[in-house]
């Protein structure tokens, strides 16, 4: 059995569908059995609300939720669990920063995002610009869709308060040169936010080594349940921010005239948090941390290279993103002359291939790349050579069917 086959056996949906070629992990990765079991176990044995309950189930839920926070902190190599805030997903995490950090900005302050951002790291900043009178700057991309570091000097100034960019493009798979971004941002005193949604399924992260201030990701993209995400922030940065959502759990005291706020991380977790989902996410991350990521990265890179080579042999196929695999995650987006990606993906579905076609919630990037939509094959640790072969055959068949 190949290593991918062994890993695949741990994913109930894939184990139940041996003929399926799931190449849509950039949208949602499959859930690992460890995460699924943890959710079921928690909901079966420890389901209760967290905070202030004194019965034994409430104690168990508190302990499980607090442990989940510590386990996420370990995956991120965070300084402390208090820096980990559970949200409903990466979008909620990014909106949290746009509101809480955004509340500290003044008209004329500037935020720099890139043209490669997912709409979730684009629209919240446009909304902040429109309500707070800040200026929103846009880091362009190169012809291959990579963030253009050459444009940083002219776009950063003493008024730049935040640089918020993707760690890895959900369309091109291009990895961001985070060190260059951080160094440039620090020169003008700006904070740095990384959208890690596409990076987390490719291994544990080290927010301290990255040198950033905020990191956002979703559980469903790293083999965990849906409905949970994480905002990590440096403790001193988070501590200086006002809350975003108000409600139960985030207060220190509520009086008729005014309220005061809880300490981190509760200040940013109003209402009942996604408790079981957080426990499931933590189990997925624990499982990931026990894997040999050197081997997995080598295989993912090899599959990406094979997919690129095979797709480019099909007449009319144009690859989007960096040439080769050195600067990209195994996310392979492509355009086929004269064919619409919806039609292509519909045909591929009949060949047991799950791919996504469309604008991938990245319309500004696609505009820069000169397409309205594209098809995307995204590989994860459970994919193997059979998936690549099926992809190549399926795309060739789609061209024959649709021509």
């Amino acid at each position: 059995m190949s290593e991918a086959s062994v890993l695949r056996a741990g994913f109930p949906l894939l184990a139940a569908n041996p003929g399926l070629h799931y190449l849509d992990s950039a949208a949602t990765a499959q859930i690992h059995r460890a995460a699924l079991d943890a959710v079921v176990c928690h909901e079966t044995l420890s389901r209760a609300n967290v905070l202030r309950g004194s019965h034994r189930l409430a104690e168990a839920a508190d302990q499980a939720f607090d442990a989940a926070r510590r386990r996420v902190a370990r995956f991120l190599n965070a300084n402390s669990a208090e820096e980990v805030i559970f949200t409903s997903g990466a979008t909620a995490a990014l909106n949290l920063v746009a509101h809480a950090f955004g509340a500290t900005l003044r008209p004329g302050d500037r935020v720099l995002i890139s043209q490669a951002e997912h709409h979730s790291n684009f629209v919240p900043w446009q909304m902040l610009r429109d309500r707070a009178g800040i200026e929103l700057d846009l880091l362009p991309v190169t012809a291959s869709g990579e963030l253009d570091p050459a444009a940083l000097p002219r776009l950063l100034s003493a008024r730049t308060r935040l640089v918020a960019v993707t760690q890895c493009s959900n369309v091109t798979g291009a990895w961001t040169d985070v060190a260059a971004i951080v160094a440039a941002a620090r020169r003008v005193g700006a904070k740095v936010l990384l959208d890690g949604a596409q990076a987390v399924q490719h291994g544990p992260q080290d927010v301290r080594a990255l040198g950033i201030d905020f990191y956002a990701f979703s559980g469903h993209k790293c083999f965990g349940p849906g409905g949970v995400g994480v905002l990590w922030g440096k403790a001193e940065v988070l501590a200086a921010l006002p809350p975003f959502l108000g409600g139960g759990g985030m207060i220190d005291e509520v009086a008729p005239q005014r309220s005061t706020w809880a300490e981190l991380p509760r200040r940013f977790e109003a209402g009942t948090p996604p408790i079981a989902q957080a426990v499931g996410l933590a189990s997925a991350l624990d499982w990931m941390m026990a894997l040999d990521w050197t081997d997995i990265h080598a295989r993912e890179t090899r599959l990406g290279a094979q997919a690129i080579e095979g797709l480019l042999r099909i007449p009319g196929v144009r690859l989007l993103g960096p040439a080769g695999t050195a600067a990209r995650a195994p996310i392979i987006s492509f355009d086929i002359a004269g064919l619409h990606p919806h039609d292509v993906c519909q045909v591929l579905d009949h060949h047991q291939l799950a791919l996504r076609g469309g604008h991938h919630c990245a319309q500004p990037l696609l505009a820069a790349l000169g397409v309205d939509a594209c098809a995307r094959a995204s590989f994860a640790l459970y994919n193997d050579e059979a998936d690549v072969a099926a992809l190549i055959d399926g795309v060739a068949a789609a061209v024959r069917t649709l021509a």
């Binding site: 619409h340 039609d343 519909q346 939509a373």
Partner: protein, 145 residues
């Protein structure tokens, strides 16, 4: 076809490729642009009208094969129709996409979209040009539904 690809029969490909009405009117009495926010497809539909009936129709369509075929069908059949006829055709297409077996006698071409009823995510693809044409007609007659 047994492989489930009946969606892409030759008739619908021919209709899409024919692109009837794919142009721009120099002067339009009604116009509407509709997007499918899920995928970014876009249809701009224009009509020239006389006594509430279409005398000329043109569209600019960025979309998949189903979307282009539907726009092309309206480009071919739209002239002479009024808002009520467009609404009736739209209702007929929606009924087919929701499983109704047969197309109405006056719109037999709609039958080619019926295989899409098995794929709810694609219903909007076929309906977008029809909805754009409805909006273009309303933009003229002031119906704000």
């Amino acid at each position: 076809m047994s492989d489930g690809l009946e969606l892409y029969q030759d008739a619908i490909k021919r209709l899409a490729n024919a692109a009837y009405g794919a142009s721009q009117l120099a002067s339009a009495d009604g116009e509407a642009k509709l997007n499918n926010p899920l995928c970014g497809d876009r249809v701009v539909m224009q009509v020239a009208l006389s006594n509430g009936h279409i005398t000329a129709i043109a569209h600019q369509t960025k979309g998949c094969l189903l979307c282009k075929a539907a726009a092309s069908l309206l480009g071919a059949r739209g002239a002479g129709l009024d808002a009520a006829a467009i609404d009736a055709a739209t209702d007929a297409l929606e009924a087919l996409l929701h499983g109704q077996a047969a197309a109405p006698a006056d719109w037999p071409e709609l039958a080619m979209f019926r295989p899409a009823h098995a794929y709810p995510s694609r219903h909007k693809c076929a309906l977008l040009p029809f909805h754009a044409l409805q909006a273009a007609m309303r933009s003229r007659i002031g119906d704000t539904r």
